[in-house]
Homo-oligomer: 324 residues x 2
DNA sequence: CTGAAAGCGCTAACAA
DNA sequence: TTGTTAGCGCTTTCAG
């Protein structure tokens, strides 16, 4: 920048002001500076700027696994939104491991990120305290509330009720659930909603038909095997997400169990997969890109100084296909 | 850091050396510093360090669409590898638009990224010249060579030959291709390999059965419609990747065309989808995570100073399932 | 084994 | 309308 200043015959402050437009500059001077900038191919050094202003342009996105289509779409939408505001998205995977979650969150502070969007699984509810004390904007996308952060969560009560009502109406009686991990933060709200809706629909969910899992395809396969080993087998399965539902389908195929004849399967998220598998998966749609946009909005507001602790709900809805 | 120095009764230089281990420090001094660091909860400011050293810890990953499972897996693997070396991965989508590709590449230089991994589509072959002149390590993942960068590309000649031989052996005669865009940089090597292999297998690929597309699911649907409108319909389709192959399957279903009875379909990449759709997709596997690891290796070598222009090939292989 | 001090490139008072 | 200057927090000579 000193070079540009010299070349244009002005001070470096003036160059800075021309570039930022933060104070009026005489046309003539501006021209000279712009000319010099062009001639020298100068670009601002964002590192120096960050050091000076204390503001970074990097936002962390911390998710269990970016290869899960739900998070990949969320990441895409977040990136689209934030890029338009000059921010960059840094992606990290936790594999849903608590230690990794903690490490990465510490890193957000250590690296002076401008903000963070996270889907925590096993983090303490007040794990964001330090972060917020350090003044780092944060948004959580989860089914569970965490202290001191903005939240994006599904509004899925009605959809789950419709799902269970559908199962009841089609003559199903015993519903199994491939749930989330037992040690997840804040329990398992999706499971609770399912239980409530089942009760309302007059369906039973026996304890031994609720099997915990890691939100993975493999968890779906294993879960299905456990369901088949139950004293009384279920005639329907609700899955914590579509990836596990696909695992359940894998398991059913291996076991020669017919969907939906022998057993109905319902997923959650409506990722691309859902309409591709056969039978097509009935699922509770939870639009990942919209979640990403909401998270971006909340985060941008915080970064702009509105220090709120708000909750934004994204409506989930039942999509009926042929697995029920 | 000054605070820590004061608290420990040493100079800030000593604090720096304790933290970096770049020169021996008396045990007593070290203890005092570490104690002070702990008490004050001090962490190094990476921005200041970057400014001083001129080295950033951010690596850009520039891909058409992170929501495409291939790139999502690539991103996951890249992130895993680079994180172990203290780097962060910044993801950006180009939507395969040339202008966006150029913008993002300029930004890599402007933002002083430590390196870049990119899948370009419409970029000039020498678009990396500026970048390399600026000394930014770069790795391209593509089927095409670009000047002045390391490359990760598929070694798929044998696999494509096997694919076409398989089609010939199962009595197919007229092969259609859903190819890449016509204005892609360096033409369409996948198409060329298919043509060569078809000739070797004694199969014809009429000009009107080669339809260009954008590597998207939609391109698969549209491409299939065009193939069905041809004078003489194909009895097999090779697709530029699995996402388009899924689009072809969508199209076939809508048109009431049976796979594989009426037409065989072969994809490329072997993403998760491939084994999930029905019929299961025969495809040329190209392991995204391995591509990510290779890219990481090449990039790390460059960032360590080995200024090579190397090509690393990842072996692709035919996976035969039920769509052929 | 340790300290003093320069300086990375920028921004934002403050002064003119 | 413009310039001078301090300093963001760190690393790294150079000197002791």
């Amino acid at each position: 920048m000193t070079d540009v200043a010299r070349a244009a015959g002005v001070s470096s402050a003036t160059v800075s002001y021309v570039l930022s437009g933060k104070r009026p500059v005489a046309d003539e001077t501006r021209q000279a500076v712009e000319e010099a900038v062009r001639r020298l191919g100068f670009t601002l050094n964002p590192v120096a700027r960050s050091l000076r202003t204390g503001r970074s342009t990097f936002v962390a996105l911390i998710v269990p696994d970016i290869a899960n289509p739900f998070y990949a779409h969320l990441a895409g939408a977040l990136q689209d939104q934030l890029r338009a505001h000059g921010y960059h998205v840094v992606v990290s995977n936790t594999a849903a491991r608590r230690e990794t979650e903690e490490d990465l969150l510490r890193e957000v502070v250590g690296q002076r990120f401008a903000g963070v969007v996270m889907t925590p699984f096993r983090l303490d509810r007040d794990a964001f305290k330090d972060l917020r004390r350090a003044g780092v904007p944060a948004v959580v996308s989860a089914d569970v509330e965490f202290s001191d952060v903005d939240l994006v969560m599904p509004d899925s009560t009605a959809a789950v009720q419709r799902a269970l009502a559908l199962l009841a109406a089609s003559g199903r009686r015993r519903v199994g659930v491939i749930a989330g991990p037992e040690d997840a933060t804040g329990g398992d709200p999706r499971l609770e909603r399912i239980k409530d809706a089942a009760a309302a629909a007059g369906l039973s969910i026996p304890k031994d038909l609720v099997v915990p899992g890691e939100h993975t395809r493999r968890a779906g396969v294993l879960g299905f095997e456990r369901l088949m080993a139950a004293r009384l087998r279920p005639d329907a399965v609700m899955c914590v997400n579509d990836v596990t539902a696909v695992g359940v389908m894998d398991g059913a195929e291996q076991a020669g169990v017919e969907i939906p004849a022998d057993i109905a399967v319902i997923g959650h998220d409506d990722i691309d997969f859902a309409s591709l598998v056969r039978p097509r998966l009935t699922t509770i749609s939870y639009p990942a890109r919209q979640v990403g946009r909401s998270a971006a909005r909340l985060l941008l507001q915080q970064m702009d100084g509105r220090a709120s602790c708000r909750v934004e709900r994204v409506v989930a809805d039942l999509v009926v296909r042929s697995s029920t």
